[in-house]
């Protein structure tokens, strides 16, 4: 066992899902052609002024409520000054001494055990523009400039790459579920920097920390931190000292590498932004945020297990994505109502069908998902099984046709004559035909080889094109064979 303890704290930048930017009315939208979502404000033109977007404030409040942070009634926007081409005004509007949220924690599970990791603060700030590199020049696209962010600063309480990964996954899940962030690491709407240091086990004092920047996947976060911890330990063990610096993960080389050294220590000259009076969150605004806070994923999973009859594992699968979770709930509720089932029964049946049939055909993109058929239609299909109109096997066929044609299940069942035959007289006639046509097998059955029953069932189902009620077929077969 290593003699070193890793000390890791994460800083996460999460873009807020507003319609417009934090301080201007430009669309907050990824992927537009360069510099099409720009205006005097986000381009930092002379004379332009910031006007704060209330939706960004409300989403930050949601995050505070979900993570248990304390909301400051009067928070203050501050200017953070430095020169960089992706910064339009020569300063970033952020929060410094008085952030909107303090404290809170990320609820996470580590090897099946519930734990929570404390947060220092959450503050609002504007995103920078994007520097593109074009043939020996840097070209700046300001579409992203001014996008609202919350920066979630975690306490240095994580002890390994795996813990950091679990923390990030849990945090992302919460933010995505409450509609604050779309959780897209590739597009950079959810970004993570890690402060990593080591200390001898049992030591309280923190070691010199290294900042790991631009790590854009969960896997890389784990690997980067573990490699960095190992690098620092090797360095210390060989008598070296850790230097305070910024490093990044080089996936190709599988190691962290130092980013270009800074010529001078930063002096950001933070001061309250005189263009922005204090941000006041009154009780009414906070109450509204509480009323509109969606159910958190952990609570949702617990409720499903308790009231919808799901296993913890199934609940985990269905709650992995907010749109799928909502879809599943709609199917379960629709089925319960249409078939008069108890929630536990409807939930179980809906879960089985959604996991077995629907998810295979579902595509997710960010917080959106494209389903092969609408939830009410799937509920209607499962209700047809419940009332005996069709059996489970036919349901899968009907579902395939629903996906292909977009028609409601009832239309397909009626047009194709797929309704189950429950008329015992009709089934009995078919059974008699089948028995008459297969005297050898009848002999075998009566001679004690009852396994041939399956053969007869198959023949009957074939003759009825699968529409005979299997239960009825079984009963009638047994009765007639016993008669003989």
């Amino acid at each position: 066992m290593s003699a070193w303890e890793a000390v890791v704290g994460l800083e996460v930048h999460a873009q807020l899902r507003t319609r417009t930017k934090l301080f201007c009315a430009c669309p907050n939208e990824f992927g537009a052609p360069p510099n099409t979502h720009v205006c005097p404000v986000c381009l930092g033109l002379p004379g332009a002024l910031p006007a704060p977007n209330e939706a960004a404030i409300d989403l930050a409040l949601r995050a505070a409520l979900a993570l248990g942070g304390e909301v400051r009634e009067r928070s203050v926007f501050a200017r953070k000054s430095y020169f960089y081409p992706d910064l339009a005004k020569g300063y970033q509007i952020s929060q410094f001494a008085l952030p909107i949220i303090e404290g809170g924690a990320v609820p996470m599970a580590l090897e099946g055990e519930a734990r929570s990791a404390a947060l220092t603060r959450i503050h609002l700030e504007e995103d920078a523009a994007k520097n593109l590199h074009v043939q020996g020049e840097t070209v700046v696209d300001f579409n992203r400039a001014g996008t609202p962010l919350i920066e979630i600063v975690g306490e240095p309480v994580l002890r390994s790459g795996a813990e950091a990964e679990a923390y990030l996954r849990a945090l992302r899940e919460v933010l995505v579920f409450i509609g604050v962030n779309d959780g897209n690491l590739e597009e950079g709407s959810f970004r993570c920097d890690a402060n990593v240091s080591i200390r001898p086990k049992g030591e309280e004092r923190l070691g010199t920390r290294v900042e790991l920047k631009n790590i854009n996947s969960f896997r890389f976060v784990r690997k980067a931190i573990d490699h960095e911890v190992a690098r620092q330990a090797a360095l210390r063990e060989s008598g070296g000292e850790v230097v305070q610096e910024t490093r990044t993960w080089d996936e190709r080389q599988e190691r962290t590498v130092a980013m270009r050294g800074k010529e001078e220590a930063h002096d950001y000259r933070y001061f309250p932004d005189p263009d922005l009076p204090p941000l006041v969150v009154d009780a009414a605004r906070l109450a509204r945020a509480e009323e509109t806070l969606p159910e958190l994923p952990a609570a949702m999973r617990a409720r499903w297990v308790e009231t919808l009859g799901l296993t913890a594992q199934d609940a985990g699968v269905l709650a992995a994505h907010p749109a799928i979770a909502a879809y599943f709930e709609a199917v379960a509720t629709g089925l319960g109502e249409a078939a008069g089932l108890k929630p536990a029964k409807a939930g179980k049946k809906a879960a089985n069908f959604v996991m077995a049939e629907v998810l295979r055909e579902t595509a997710t993109e960010g917080v959106e998902a494209r389903f092969p058929a609408a939830a009410p239609e799937v509920a209607a299909l499962l209700a047809l099984v419940e009332d005996g109109t069709i059996n489970g096997k036919i349901a899968k066929e009907v579902f395939a046709k629903m996906v292909a044609t977009g028609e409601p299940p009832k239309t397909i069942v009626e047009r194709e004559g797929l309704a189950q035959v429950t008329d015992t007289a009709a089934i009995e006639a078919v059974v008699r035909e089948v028995l008459a046509a297969n005297p050898k097998q009848v002999e075998q059955y009566r001679g004690g080889k009852t396994a041939v029953l399956g053969f007869f069932v198959g023949q009957v189902m074939k003759a009825t094109r699968g529409q005979a009620n299997p239960k009825a077929v079984n009963e009638i077969l047994r009765a007639l064979l016993a008669e003989g």
Binding site: P46, A51, K89, R269, P274, D275
Partner: protein, 496 residues
């Protein structure tokens, strides 16, 4: 009567004449353009002839069609060159913005257009509004129309000189620490620095955001009130813009001062020259004769105004001017080297005064100095604000000179920035407190204008207009510093 006479009739006079059909907007604009183009005082940086004439024709067509006209319909107005006007150069009298054409309108510009004003010119100023004499302009100093060897005051010296020289009947300036009031005093004009938040700063190139306000220049309080009414009001694009009710400011000018309590901080008046003090005493007597009472008040912390202001304003300015980096607009200087070399070479083109204030402000905000300088200054600012709160228990307006002296000779203080700063002593406290303040002519001293400054309660500009109106009535109009209808002939081409 010729267009020149109507142009000399002031803001309200010209608007009335256009409304009555006594003169066309086109003739009025033509006359103003002629005078602006032959401006001998270097007051004007850009004349917007074509667009203004087109706008004038629209006013004339609207009148011919019987449509209702705006309160400033046909009135030529000049704008300080730190106000963004779409399609028009906006330089802030700086090399950094030379040639930059604003792609949008400032809020006040939108409001002036809506009121029917003719936007004829952009005026010279101290670079980025940093100066008290108009000598820091990258495009040369402005001459005072009362004496071309003297400064017109600053930083809105071009707007003041343009109105004093009767190139236009009214103009807008901006006031951060006295930049409309002091030039108004030096040029014999009325000017108002509105309550902070009364006028949107959107589109005003920022100097010090917690202090900047746009204000009007005119030759009478009533003319100033007409301009002020056009530009005042809430704007959602400026988070510091207030939702305060407007008042009948024009009407207030004729209201009189019966019962008005004028607070006089005697100790502060000691700092003014004897000539200025004599005029202030005369003005106070005149207000008393008109029914006001004089009350002694003290503003014990006002004397710290210079120190507080010259920390707070440069600190904010150092940040506000960081955007002039040669990346998105304006000047870029590349002399080889990388990005940082480009930044430094570009920003080396600020003038010495702007550099000084950026250095001073950067220093005041930098690690280790923030508490001692910036934070401390902001605390003393609170004390200055409280002094006014206390004074307004006993009076309705506080009277002082606008400036300690009459207009000083050009070049006298350019090598002595501290002395220049100290001359702002009377105007800075009201700026730091966010209060409305006017400068109104207090008569001539040795042939040069003096100004009385009156500071009012927040959003009580009406009382200031009443006092200014009363003083004008008592003193009568100042003589014109320029021959009547200067360059009148030059505008005849536009007259119908």
């Amino acid at each position: 009567m010729s267009a020149g006479r109507w142009l000399d009739a002031g803001v309200v006079g010209a608007a009335d004449a256009v409304a009555a059909g006594a003169v066309t907007a086109e003739a009025l604009v033509g006359e103003a353009l002629g005078r602006l183009r032959s401006d001998p005082h270097n007051a004007v940086l850009h004349v917007d002839g074509e667009a203004a004439l087109e706008a004038a024709q629209q006013v004339d067509a609207a009148r011919a069609a019987g449509e209702a006209l705006g309160p400033l319909a046909g009135v030529p107005v000049a704008l300080k060159d730190n106000l963004c006007q779409r399609g028009t150069p906006t330089t802030c009298a700086s090399r950094l913005l030379e040639g930059w054409v604003a792609p949008y309108d400032a809020h006040v510009v939108e409001r002036l257009r809506a009121a029917g004003a003719m936007l004829v010119a952009k005026t010279n100023m101290d670079e980025f509004a940093m100066g008290s004499s108009n000598e820091t302009s990258a495009f040369g100093p402005v001459k005072n129309p009362w004496d071309p060897a003297r400064a017109p005051g600053g930083s809105s010296g071009g707007s003041a000189a343009a109105v004093a020289a009767r190139l236009v009947p009214g103009a807008l300036g901006s006031d951060t620490g006295g930049s409309v009031r002091q030039p108004a005093a030096f040029c014999g004009l009325f000017a108002l620095k509105p309550t902070y938040g009364r006028v949107s700063r959107y589109g005003l190139v920022a100097f010090a955001s917690s202090l900047d306000q746009v204000g009007p220049f005119a030759r009478s309080a009533r003319d100033g009130a007409r301009l002020f009414a056009a530009i005042a009001g809430r704007d959602g694009r400026d988070a510091t813009s207030a939702d305060a009710p407007s008042a009948d400011w024009e009407g207030a000018c004729a209201r009189g001062v019966e019962g008005l309590r004028v607070g006089v901080p005697r100790a502060l008046l000691e700092g003014a020259s004897a000539g200025v003090r004599a005029r202030i005493d005369a003005a106070l007597e005149a207000l008393k004769d008109a029914g006001a009472t004089l009350v002694d008040v003290t503003l014990p912390h006002a004397k710290h105004g210079v120190s507080v202001y010259y920390l707070v304003a440069p600190a904010e300015a150092s940040s506000n001017l960081a955007r002039f980096d040669g990346v998105r607009y304006g000047l870029r200087v590349e002399e080889g080297g990388g990005l940082d070399a480009m930044y430094e070479a570009t920003r080396a083109r600020f003038g010495p005064e702007v550099k000084r204030r950026i250095l001073l402000g950067t220093y005041a905000l930098s690690a280790g100095y923030y508490d001692a300088y910036y934070l401390r200054a902001q605390k003393v600012r609170t004390l200055i604000r409280r002094d006014y709160d206390a004074a307004f228990e006993a009076c309705d307006v506080v009277a002082t000179p606008t400036a300690p002296t009459v207009a000083f000779p050009l070049g006298e203080r350019t090598d002595d920035p501290l002395t220049m700063y100290l001359s702002d002593v009377y105007t800075l406290p009201a700026s730091l407190a966010g209060l409305p303040a006017i400068s109104t002519p207090a008569g001539l001293s040795e042939g040069l204008p003096t100004g009385l400054q009156l500071v009012g309660r927040a959003f009580d500009e009406a009382t200031l207009f009443a006092a200014a109106g009363a003083l004008e009535k008592a003193f009568g109009p100042l003589p014109s510093p320029v021959p009547a209808g200067p360059g009148e002939h030059a505008g005849e081409e536009g007259a119908s």
